[in-house]
Amino acid sequence: TGGHTTEILRLLSCLSESYSPKHYILADSDNMSEVKIRSFEQKRSETFSGSQFTLHRIPRSREVRQSWTSSVVTTLYSILYSLPLIYKLKPDLILCNGPGTCLPVCISALLLGLLGIKRTIIVYVESICRVETLSLSGKILYYFSDYFIVQWRDLKEKYPKSVYLGRIV
């Protein structure tokens, strides 16, 4: 969604062409992000040829301020979609930065890892908006990601297993 998409595209801006093919996973209700992604990839294809990317949609796992119990239900529903998708894609690397959509995707990857089907590296970058506290996705994925990146020193102190690279978006 919105800010998350802008941030993740900035993160992608300096990555080499070796990170290909790219699969973008979006919430089904997200319209703006598709526009931003296509525009980003369009610009990129001007310098780098052979840039392969695909967009995938899964049900939105959580509305803003949705209650905890109903969020669990909607997230489980999203996993019904994300699990076959991740099984098909078998990504080497998942890069996410916090929207509800990342949870079903990461949970699916973790499940496939536990089942010995595919071991995916999960890299989570917490949003630049998070200075003192982690988002809900962040609080969960802090324990389950391979690399958890924060952009402010306060968070590095509170969450010692995190990686601090300064402001990267």
């Binding site: 990170y19 998070r130 690399y147 990146i149």
Partner: protein, 104 residues
């Protein structure tokens, strides 16, 4: 204004921006190098939205006020005290990730 696709043009021609504490608004404005006054409304806003505005204020990049103190802030402000906002460095992220996946 309702909903313009992008405020980029307006932003570029502005001398001063007064905005709510939304992260996108703050960062876009600071990246254009425009002085920014952030108006916070503790009752409406999600606590976490305020985190960034508070930090930017602590670091001297923005002025902060509430709806009721906006007028006096405008009257007494000294924009020269605002510090420039250096851009983020996604290159550092790229270097880090290259090492993680073994491209380096």
């Amino acid at each position: 204004f309702r909903f313009k696709d992008s405020l980029a043009e307006d932003l570029r021609s502005a001398d001063l921006v007064i905005s709510h504490a939304g992260a996108g608004s703050c960062l876009e404005t600071l990246e254009e190098g425009k002085p920014l006054i952030v108006v916070t409304n503790e009752k409406l806003m999600d606590n976490h939205q305020l985190e960034l505005a508070k930090q930017l204020h602590r670091d001297g990049h923005v002025l902060c006020c509430s709806c009721s103190t906006l007028v006096e802030t405008l009257e007494s402000m000294d924009l020269s005290t605002l510090k420039p906002f250096p851009p983020g460095q996604p290159e550092k992220f790229a270097l880090f990730l290259d090492e993680v996946v073994g491209f380096r």
